[in-house]
Symmetry: C2
């Protein structure tokens, strides 16, 4: 496959492919001469994965590269790969020195302790959760244990299902890709479903019971 064909098969412009090559997101094709290189099915898969991450979840290219590097690092097991992918996908959150932050942090810790979740103290999702709680509280709304438990249970249900679908015996190439997908792309699905569920509940409660939609 040459660049133009790679472009056609993926729908990505040649200029963009060249850009990805320059940025090291896509490995170089095998050069057959000074002005020619051939690309394989692997390149096409990789390209599709990049586009899925970028278009599907708006992941910045620097983070995409971090994820791809982790996929290619054969010394990492699935559990740590999942952590690495999450780390790359989680936006940085700097703790602020406010009362809300401290209260939110306590909520986070208590929740994790209550549920007994095995989570690394350095997991970037911790401050992210704290930040989300602190933001809502900063607007003057409570985020109590009842709400957190409900959300946590819902999150755990999806996580169980996600891990059910990973086959640790599958070829590493695939298993590793699968982990990237469940962590990065399934979020989109959950968020879309949440919007639909809210609409449903809202229709039932805030309108009559006989409305069509």
């Amino acid at each position: 496959m040459r660049v133009s064909e790679l472009s056609r098969h993926s729908g990505v412009p040649v200029a963009t492919i060249k850009y990805y090559l320059r940025e090291g997101l896509l490995p170089k094709g095998e050069a057959t001469s000074a002005t020619q290189a051939v690309y394989s099915e692997t390149h096409l898969r990789r390209l599709r994965l990049i586009r899925a991450l970028v278009e599907g979840s708006g992941v910045p290219l620097t983070k995409v590269r971090a994820i791809l590097d982790a996929l290619d690092d054969t010394g990492v097991d699935l559990h740590h790969l999942l952590g690495t992918v999450q780390y790359a996908l989680t936006p940085e959150t700097t703790p602020t020195d406010t009362p809300e932050w401290r209260e939110a942090e306590r909520n986070t810790e208590e929740l994790l302790a209550r549920l007994g979740w095995r989570v690394s103290p350095s997991s970037p999702a911790r401050p992210r959760l704290t930040h989300a709680i602190a933001t809502v509280m900063g607007l003057g709304y409570q985020v109590g244990p009842r709400t957190l438990d409900t959300y946590a249970n819902a999150a755990h249900m999806t996580a169980e299902r996600d891990l059910d679908r990973i086959d640790p015996a599958a070829p590493r190439e695939r298993a590793v890709e699968h982990v990237a997908i469940i962590t990065a792309l399934m979020d989109q699905m959950l968020v879309a479903l949440r919007a639909l569920a809210q609409e449903d509940v809202s229709a039932r409660r805030l309108r009559g019971t006989d409305a069509r939609y």
Copy 2:
């Protein structure tokens, strides 16, 4: 309150406040002379909400404005407001003319029919869900009814809880803000919790049962 004080109370630079005023995100203060205007508590609340949306969920300013306009439109009831906020928050998704899209669309329709959710046919969350499914399928992975049901149930649990917390009798100003918050900010909480839950499940399954984390 003058601009400088508004800036101090909110932590947002004066230059940025002026920018928001120019962009119509923040209503003008009440002018007391050609070079002086006073801002109220309402301005401060509004400013905090803008920052929460921008920092908390990376909502583009154009969408923030759409949300704020909906909040200010007193002719809209809570149910429709929720729809409007969701509409503003949901990224546009253009259907593609591929087999994956059509299959994903069928999955979406069947899921909603199976669950009996009352969802408008024009809800932008539909194509968003379809797009998410189609993207995952385009990478060669199945998204079956089992997975969709699990995710849908989880989503519905959070939606029930969200609507429980809305007080339809509260002053419109507050109820309306609450709706914006649950649709926009609670997503972040759910996603963060999902990451933590995945780590927990992954630790239990992909590692031994005695590992510390």
